[in-house]
């Protein structure tokens, strides 16, 4: 490989690609060519940096300069200032909102200070489309160690000792799963990587596959070695074209280098990987449903036992792990089980990747040690609530999880504490809600998702959730009665107790958790037909405060349905029969004259 003096890393994650990061890369290359610097400075499109809020991100090495919200038009200026003149381009550096200082080095950013990157170790550092860059960062050395120095039982021992638990949601000990599959006797076994990330608002698996696909391939081969499988399958959402593309390139390169295929590294071990496509069904995150889907059938779950470890894909023993779980494996082998187990809490070891989103300043992908508190995540890493509003709750675990309120801000986050708090880890979606979010509407939002995604096999899930949804709709329409709240609780418990798979068993969690934590809000909807957050349209009216209105006509000009009348510099008013309650006037008014009642 050529020696470069400087590297320009451009984020090539889906978020930044949507903001033209590919063009940014091209512009850099063209500009460097103009100056004859193309041989000295390398431009790389990397995986996700995680700091999506300020994307597209451009990072320049070796000095770690971190440019945010870069546009293709900014490129010539960056090259002229930074590369040619050696001065950092101040206006694109990250602005610390508290101190109002520009930060030149990403190590000085609060967003990164508390993170420990294991699963995301290579995301944003390497070109995911070049296997040599992965190898240069100890890639495939773990596989080499396993094949040449260790027995399968020893490797499984290591994974068990590390305390690694499944990152897809359930938290089942990974080493134990491998051991169970190893013990099953069969002529053919399979390793499956679950990349069917269905939780709306979680995108860590996709980012790992886009930013560091080889780490997953390497881990799958290690797993195959341990359980005695020579075939691996990645089950991935068809909605992730970029991840699929990079995965295909990675598989091709690994075969070329003899790291997949027959007689890997001359050890006689055979292992190859194929891609299978999901077609958009949340329930396929469940192991048995996923396996049925891979077999070309409807993705409906079946009763366990038999577990996939005994009877899985094509009736053969199958080990299913999630992308993030796999991404941890090579590091555990390289650095040792003890090292991994030294991070985290007593029962949850290592780190967890969270997709931090919602009403928070720093939306992005973060990897933090287990045991960190919500307060640290939201205020230190996340930079606090957007627009200076009040923190209300954080929703974890997606449609299967629940809400955590202020009182949980200082609880150390791990699998067990989240369950005890009425939520769950899930795949790691973390949606921050401010005081403008109505918790009844949030519960309804998740229920709507479950309704669409229920496979329809079990009656409690198929019909029970529909009834739950209808009751919630009644409440948000202002037609609810006190008895409905008891009905919600009773029905939720029945659905939990009587559904077959994880989807049904957890689907009422958003309802139960909001009932527990925000009962007053439900009561307000039911008893006085008001929505405290002002979000439920049927329960609010927009009016204009005569004392505050200056007659600036801003609301009049922005109303999409012409429901506002009034003369310039005179009092404006809203014609209620025409108003569609879109809230534009409320947002636009500079004098707080539009009231929600």
């Amino acid at each position: 490989m050529a020696e470069y003096n400087m590297h320009i890393l451009v984020c090539g994650g889906t978020g930044c690609m949507a903001s033209q990061s590919e063009l940014i890369q091209t512009n850099f290359k063209n500009k460097l060519n103009e100056y004859g610097l193309a041989d000295e400075i390398q431009v790389i499109l990397t995986g996700c940096f995680g700091f999506c809020e300020k994307g597209p991100i451009v990072k320049i090495l070796p000095d770690n300069t971190f440019y945010t919200r870069v546009t293709p038009e900014d490129v010539p200026e960056i090259v002229d200032e930074h590369i040619i003149k050696g001065r950092k381009l101040e206006r694109l550096l990250y602005l610390n909102p508290e101190t109002n200082e520009r930060i030149g080095d990403s190590k000085g950013m609060d967003f990164y200070k508390k993170q420990i990157r294991i699963a995301l170790r290579n995301c944003g550092f390497i070109n995911p489309e070049n296997i040599e860059e992965y190898i240069a960062r100890h890639g495939y050395s773990a596989l080499g160690t396993c094949l040449s120095e260790k027995s399968p039982a020893e490797v499984i021992r290591m994974v068990k000792d590390s305390g690694l638990r499944g990152r897809g949601g359930g938290g089942f000990p990974t080493g134990l799963k491998w051991e169970l599959t190893r013990k099953s006797f069969s002529d053919q076994k399979y390793v499956v990587c679950n990349a069917d990330e269905g939780d709306p608002g979680a995108f860590m698996d996709r980012s790992i596959l886009e930013g560091d696909p080889h780490s997953v391939l390497e881990a799958m081969a290690i797993c195959g070695f341990c359980i005695g499988a020579d075939k691996g399958l990645v089950y991935i959402r068809a909605e992730y074209p970029l991840a699929i593309e990079r995965l295909k390139i990675a598989i091709g390169q690994a075969r070329e280098y003899g790291l997949l295929g027959n007689d890997i590294l001359g050890t006689g071990f055979n292992f190859d990987i194929e891609i299978r496509y999901g077609a958009g069904a949340f329930v396929c995150g469940e192991e048995t449903a996923l396996i049925h889907s891979m077999e070309g059938q409807r993705g409906e779950p079946t009763v366990k036992p038999p577990f996939p470890a005994e009877k899985g894909y094509n009736g053969k023993p199958t080990n299913v792990n999630n992308v993030e779980t796999f991404a941890n494996i090579p590091v555990i082998i390289n650095k040792g089980a003890e090292w991994f187990a030294s991070i985290g809490t007593e029962k949850s070891k290592g780190t967890k990747v969270f997709a931090l989103a919602g009403n928070i300043n720093n939306v992005g992908l973060i990897e933090v040690p287990m045991g960190i508190t919500l307060r640290e995540i939201i205020y230190d890493i996340g930079g606090g609530i957007k627009d200076g509003r009040e923190f209300k709750a954080v929703q974890t675990g997606g449609p299967s999880g629940g809400c955590l309120t202020k009182s949980f801000l200082d609880t150390p986050i791990d699998y067990d504490n989240l369950v005890a708090a009425g939520s769950m880890m899930g795949s790691g979606g973390m949606i921050v809600l401010d005081d403008s979010s109505c918790m009844v509407a949030i519960a309804k939002f998740y229920l709507e998702f479950t309704l669409e995604e229920s496979c329809g096999k079990c009656t409690p899930c198929r019909i029970g959730n529909k009834r739950l949804y209808e009751i919630l709709e009644k409440i948000t329409d202002g037609k609810g009665e006190l008895e409905d709240l008891n009905r919600l609780r009773m029905l939720s418990n029945v659905i939990k107790d009587t559904s077959l798979c994880g989807l049904g068993q957890t689907s009422p969690n958003p309802v139960l958790s909001t009932l527990d934590n925000f009962y007053d809000e439900y009561l307000a909807h039911v008893n006085s037909s008001t929505c405290p957050a002002g979000q439920c349209k049927a329960l609010v009216n927009y009016t204009i405060d005569a004392d505050k209105c200056t007659g600036c006509t801003l609301c009049f000009r922005n109303c999409p349905v012409g429901a506002i009348s009034g003369e310039k510099r005179g009092l404006h008013y809203i014609v209620q029969s025409l108003c569609i309650k879109c809230g534009v006037c409320f947002e636009k008014c500079k004098f707080d004259a539009v009231l929600i009642a």
Binding site: P200, A238, G280, A355, P560
Partner: protein
């Protein structure tokens, strides 16, 4: 829905795809992906051909097509509009954006405009949560969309064909 007469070419294409996958019933989902990729959608007539080729019942094909949200039995508009309804987009106002699209285009979710220009759909998380709320028109991503921007987005596509819209 009125019946569709498939062209010989389309039937030939479906047959080729099926045989590429060894006419195996277990490859049904892969076959459906390929066929939808070529034809745009999977009407009943297409499903019948696939069922025959793979030697499985039409009911089974139909069962799979309707189970997965990625497969569609109705043709998409020239410019398919998808509103991301992932949680991150939802809490940042995707619902208001969706209702504005419905109002402007006068269609419901899952429908196309009578002129076939636009179709409206929801999807779950494209993973660009930093840009929430997100709207996709074809492959192009619009980020931080507000209800006020809806009119401009539609206007951008109203007069032009799909190929003429450059990625901004």
């Amino acid at each position: 829905m009125p019946g569709i007469k498939l062209s010989e070419k389309a039937i030939g294409l479906i047959k080729t795809i099926c045989s590429d996958f060894g006419n195996q019933g277990s490859e049904l989902i892969n076959v459906l992906h390929q066929v939808q990729g070529k034809l745009g959608y999977l009407p009943a007539e297409v499903q019948e051909v696939i069922a025959k080729e793979l030697n499985i019942s039409v009911a089974k094909v139909y069962g799979v097509v309707t189970f997965y949200s990625f497969f569609t039995m109705i043709p998409m508009g020239e410019h398919p509009i998808s509103i991301c309804m992932g949680t991150a987009c939802y809490v940042r106002g995707a619902e208001q954006v969706l209702s504005e699209f419905k109002r402007q285009l006068k269609v419901e979710v899952g429908q196309s405009t009578p002129d076939g220009k636009f179709s409206l759909n929801c999807l779950r998380c494209v993973g660009a949560c930093g840009l929430a709320p997100v709207v996709l028109v074809g492959e192009k991503v619009f980020g931080r969309v507000s209800p006020q921007m809806v009119k401009t987005i539609i206007a951008e596509y109203k007069e032009v064909g799909a190929s003429e819209v450059k990625s901004a």
